[in-house]
């Protein structure tokens, strides 16, 4: 394949990945790695490196809009970033000591979990929370403005959330993903932060988490500019397009269809990993 053809194909694949990522809410990074490895036969380490770059780009792009709307809580984000960045460094170091087929299997497992996450109907949370003195000290409680007016929210169980964020960081560093799904679980389900604020804060955090492992990836040679650049531009374009289309789409139907697609990809990753082909 000439460099020109390769770049074009990677770009087109990444646009689709970004679109799929935006419409499912999974983020583009998680779909682009299997696409590169399964469709184009790219070594998983290059795919992970490129995916990480695209994750940082989309997160920064999305976060810019959320931050402007005052939806992300910069204090919660910064506090939890202490955990995610430490985790991401450990993850990036672990990644280079893990055989590539084991990485593929782990990736498949994370994809399966995300697919399950996507089809889950969002349950109304019980917001009767015990006061958490740590959250008071850290001033994590906040307000956000929604269509129904200003909403005050209280945050609890900061320590458990912090612990889960470390795990999210490790996965992000090992697999070059944003692990947004896990970050949202930590904030929404455990710390009791409203879903909208959780998603917005998560995308603000993903960029910083990603950069913590990117330096190690760079030194190890995982980030090849010829793959990383078209992936970054493609995923960025695809997710911007996806965000525009989202309000006009039958989201739940789409999510169910995409969940099936993601399960198929996950099974492929796992079987290829087990056969030692990746």
């Amino acid at each position: 394949m000439t460099a020109y053809e390769f770049t074009l194909i990677v770009f087109l694949v990444s646009i689709s990945a970004g679109l799929l990522g935006a419409l499912t809410g999974l983020g583009g990074g998680i779909v682009v790695t299997p696409a590169l490895t399964l469709l184009l036969g790219v070594d998983i380490r290059y795919a992970i490196g490129a995916s990480l770059v695209s994750v940082i780009a989309t997160s920064s792009g999305a976060a810019a809009a959320y931050v402007k709307d005052g939806l992300s809580n910069i204090r919660i984000g910064m506090f939890l970033e202490m955990a995610t960045t430490a985790g991401a460094i450990c993850g990036a170091i672990l990644a280079s000591r893990t055989p590539t087929n084991a990485l593929a299997i782990l990736f498949g497992a994370v994809l399966l979990h995300s697919a399950w996450q996507v089809i889950q109907a969002k349950k109304q949370q019980n917001r009767n929370q015990a006061a958490d003195p740590l959250c008071e000290t850290l001033q994590l409680n906040g307000v956000f403005h929604s269509s129904e007016g200003t909403v005050d929210y209280r945050v609890s169980r900061a320590k458990s959330g912090f612990g889960l964020m470390y795990v999210a960081g490790v996965l992000s560093g090992m697999l070059g993903i944003g692990s947004g799904a896990l970050k949202v679980i930590a904030m929404d389900r455990i710390m009791g932060i409203p879903f909208k604020v959780s998603t917005a804060t998560s995308s603000l955090m993903i960029g910083v988490t990603g950069v913590a492992s990117a330096a190690i990836y760079l030194k190890r040679g995982y980030i090849h500019p010829l793959i990383a650049l078209p992936v970054m531009l493609g995923v960025l374009g695809g997710s911007m397009l996806g965000a525009r289309l989202l309000p006009r789409m039958p989201v739940m139907t789409l999510r169910r269809i995409f969940a099936v697609v993601v399960v198929v990809i996950a099974v492929q990753m796992i079987t290829q990993g087990l056969r030692g082909r990746l």
Binding site: D43, M78, I89, V208, I216, K219
Partner: protein, 132 residues
């Protein structure tokens, strides 16, 4: 309390602008570099089936800058690759700049706890640069 809300809003605007600007600069730089690389007369066929590790310029920032900007003695292929890598570096710097601005913001609010927390995050990021 209202003073804090006000500065938080300003800080949020600054952070938003930093993030958007960083992505824009990275994309434009990357596109310029990528086009130079792809239209170079000596562009070779590529395959990434085998992992060789990128023989990258990241470890040699001086060489990367020279290849990107020096007028003579650099082939179009080298220049394209160097500029593409600069684009990627610009993207990676964006969140670091965001964290740095946050330190200033929290310091202006005299919020010592958050100045400390943000410094820990920045130190972790800087520490990752030293790891192998």
């Amino acid at each position: 309390m209202s003073a804090i809300v006000l500065t938080d809003t300003k800080l949020q605007r600054l952070i938003g602008a930093t993030l958007r600007g960083g992505v824009l600069v990275a994309s434009i730089t990357g596109i310029v570099g990528g086009l130079l690389f792809l239209t170079a007369p000596d562009a070779k066929p590529v395959s990434f089936h085998l992992f060789e590790g990128t023989h990258s310029l990241y470890a040699f920032p001086g060489l990367m800058l020279r290849q990107a900007f020096e007028l003579h003695g650099v082939t179009q292929l080298e220049r394209g690759l160097a500029i593409t890598q600069l684009g990627i570096i610009a993207l990676l710097l964006t969140p670091i700049i965001r964290v740095t601005f946050s330190i200033v913001g929290f310091a202006l609010e005299r919020d010592r706890i958050y100045v400390a927390i943000t410094c820990v995050v920045l130190a972790t990021l800087m520490g990752s640069l030293l790891l192998h």
